[in-house]
């Protein structure tokens, strides 16, 4: 029964082994749902957030996964608009990653905001002066776009393809996917930017406040660039991880190389822009608000090391590795660089969310620490478990990597030839 839903020619683990794989994640999801239920039923007193730390682990998670999920829009843009056909090998996986990241972020946000039955208020009674309104609208629309892009992947399932209306609808929808790719790029561009802009307009938080262009602070552009830069790295990383766990070759080395080149190039531009932005902030913006930049870094553990790590260790280094053909050809360097790029964006979102709120800004203010409660951690883990489960089911039942079967054939021939060469 299970076998009939798996694409022809693909090898997947036995149902028993698959069950063993998903059980711990399902248990984690159940625990996380319990935590989220507590937060929704009893309120935010279940968390360690307060009036000062209105943003905590969940917002850090939201910002990070939305940046990592940017690979979906960028891959779609490069494939359907710029016609980089090699990326067809990873587009399905990129869409699933996008769905996981965005739906996970929206779920965490719903727990954070609370009152899910009134979630429609945000659309019907939006605050037209808030950047979050734009973020909410864009993320909701883009999640809808991602779900529509996910639909053909589901309908291409071997068993569902037997239903004529599904088959035809999938084909016709797929023919129009370039429209969705364009819309997705437009939406992603703005909500990634607005998430950054959200911090850049905080005049009361000079650590985060930035000058910019027209109504957009520089963080608007930096968030777009950093998300676009790490999106391909995250696709590369997840594909390598799935290859390792499933012990299968899923895409050709040329695809990894292309992803690394795109990621490296965008990361290099980002590092340059971030360095210029930091210099302007240190020398002009922050002193203009009565703060020397050194003051921000006198509160431990947030020393200047964090700035160095963000720009040099997790920015410049992985960019250089991914832009150097000899280094990116080496699996260890490639995976290491992609992981560092992803770690860098997580660090940046952590700094923007947690460090911004921890630093004192008024003379009677003090430095405040924040540690998430177990309910917050549980909800965070639920999003992770949900992502792993959705991806695992998608990998098992849908053809996420169209070249998998062909690569298996090539590997078998290569093995055969090696065996014959050894014999003679």
């Amino acid at each position: 029964m299970d076998r009939e839903f798996i694409a022809r020619g693909l090898q997947r683990s036995s149902p028993g082994r698959f069950l063993l794989w998903i059980l711990p994640w399902a248990a984690l999801l159940a625990f996380g749902l319990y935590c989220a239920g507590l937060c929704l039923a009893k309120g935010l007193n279940q968390t360690n957030m307060d009036n000062r730390f209105a943003f905590g682990l969940w917002i850090f998670l939201d910002l990070t996964v939305i940046a990592l999920g940017a690979g979906a829009f960028l891959t779609g843009f490069l494939l359907y608009i710029l016609k980089l056909d090699e990326l067809r090998a990873v587009i399905n996986s990129a869409v699933v990653i996008g769905v996981v990241c965005y739906s996970g972020a929206v779920s965490a946000l719903m727990v954070d905001v609370g009152q899910p039955l009134r979630s429609w208020f945000t659309f019907w009674y939006p605050n037209v002066h808030s950047m979050l309104t734009e973020v909410t609208f864009c993320i909701s629309c883009y999640l809808t776009v991602l779900l529509i892009e996910y639909l053909p992947i589901v309908l291409r399932n071997r068993k569902l393809r037997d239903v004529p209306s599904f088959l035809v609808f999938e084909h016709k929808l797929h023919n129009l996917v370039y429209v969705l790719a364009g819309v997705g790029t437009f939406l992603s561009f703005f909500h990634q930017g607005s998430l950054g802009g959200l911090y850049g307009v905080l005049r009361g938080r000079p650590f985060a406040f930035r000058e910019g262009f027209a109504v957009w602070p520089s963080t608007f552009f930096l968030f777009i660039l950093s998300a676009a830069a790490v999106g391909p790295s995250f696709i590369l990383l997840t594909t390598k991880l799935v290859e390792t766990l499933s012990r299968k070759r899923l895409v050709r080395p040329t695809v990894y190389s292309l992803l690394a080149r795109v990621s490296g190039l965008l990361l290099a531009v980002y590092v340059l822009a971030k360095a210029v932005d930091t210099l302007v902030w240190i020398n002009r913006t922050s002193p203009g608000h009565g703060f020397l930049a050194s003051q921000y870094y006198s509160w431990k553990p947030f020393g200047t090391w964090i700035l160095f790590a963000e720009i040099v260790v997790f920015g410049m280094l992985p960019a250089l590795v991914m832009l150097t053909p000899r280094l990116r050809a080496h699996n260890g360097w490639l995976v290491g660089a992609a992981a560092m790029a992803c770690g860098g964006v997580a660090l940046n979102r952590f700094v923007m969310t947690v460090q911004t709120l921890a630093l004192p800004t008024l003379s009677f203010d003090s430095f405040v620490s924040y540690y998430p409660s177990w309910q917050e951690v549980g909800t965070f883990l639920a999003v992770v478990a949900y992502g792993v489960l959705l991806y695992s089911f998608s990998f098992r039942y849908f053809n996420l990597f169209p070249e998998e079967r062909e690569l298996r054939l090539e590997a078998a021939v290569h093995e055969e030839e090696s065996a014959l060469a050894g014999r003679y």
Binding site: V128, V145, V168, H171, K172, L176, G182, L187, V215, P402
Partner: protein, 277 residues
């Protein structure tokens, strides 16, 4: 939605935001609606088989999408741009006009111990079509296809009167874990069904028997290079299933290849050989 809420006024920023937001919603709705309308039209026009075939063809590895003129050596490399429907292909028409197929001596081609009669046309999905004197067309499995499936566990044939489309499903055969869709070589209406024992499965009243009707099918001197390539593909598919290729030493395929490889995933092998995605 937005214009009547507190704090909204018709300034440039709000108009741009509202315009962009509604444009995005309109684009999403229009895409879904267009896909739904086109789907309805396609289903009503009976294009389901053609869409399925195009999906199957696109999922084939590039080396299996090669033009028939690569098989005969006229091109070194060329992907078929018409999903093996040479009736639409101008290149094929020109090539056939300039270089007609060389005649083949005898009544059949013998390739690796398998007989391929020359009185019929072959589809690359391992079916054949033979034009009968009464204007009907018999459809059957070629020798390699028959040996791949051996003695079928189940056979599902269309009812007389049903339509069949070239590259669409002609009939289904189940063998072990493989449920194989066997492609039809011709467009027409089924008028009689046969069986493996009778040597053919369908008798079809073709829509046309003109010069163009069988142009997409292989014939004569094209058969040998095609089958030789198919045997290579079979070896590759079997190797991928972890079974040693049995033909490399010049042997011939056994009459029931499925029975000879009990451990192989026969569904995968048949999917590969019968061009099913």
């Amino acid at each position: 939605m937005l214009p009547w809420i507190y704090g909204f006024d018709w300034n440039t920023g709000h108009i741009v935001f509202l315009g962009a937001f509604y444009a995005v919603l309109a684009a999403i709705a229009a895409t879904l609606t267009a896909a739904a309308i086109r789907s309805l039209r396609a289903i009503r026009a009976g294009q389901t088989d053609a869409i399925r075939w195009h999906g199957d063809f696109e999922s084939l590895p590039e080396r299996d999408q090669v033009c028939r003129h690569v098989l005969t050596g006229e091109f070194r490399e060329r992907q078929c741009p018409h999903a093996f429907d040479c009736r639409e292909c101008e290149t094929h028409a020109k090539l056939i006009e300039r270089h007609p197929l060389a005649p083949v001596a005898g009544h059949e081609e013998d390739v690796s111990g398998m007989a391929f009669p020359l009185d019929r046309f072959y589809h690359r999905g391992h079916t054949w079509a033979r034009l009968e004197t009464d204007g009907t067309v018999l459809v059957g499995l070629d020798e390699l296809g028959a040996r791949l499936l051996g003695v079928p566990d189940a056979l599902t044939l269309p009812q007389p009167g049903e339509r069949t489309h070239a590259n669409g499903a002609a009939f289904h055969i189940r063998r072990r874990n493989a449920d194989v869709r066997v492609v039809s070589p011709v467009d027409g209406t089924v008028i009689e069904t046969g069986s493996a024992g009778r040597g053919w499965y369908l008798r079809v009243k073709p829509d046309s028997t003109g010069a163009n009707a069988f142009r997409h099918l292989l014939r004569g001197s094209e058969i040998r290079p095609w089958i030789e390539r198919e045997i290579e593909r079979l070896q590759l598919a079997l190797t991928a299933e972890g079974t040693a290729p049995a033909l490399a030493d010049g042997g011939v395929p056994v009459s029931d290849i499925a029975a000879a490889y009990p451990a192989a995933d026969w569904d995968a092998v048949c999917g590969e050989m019968f061009l099913e995605g």
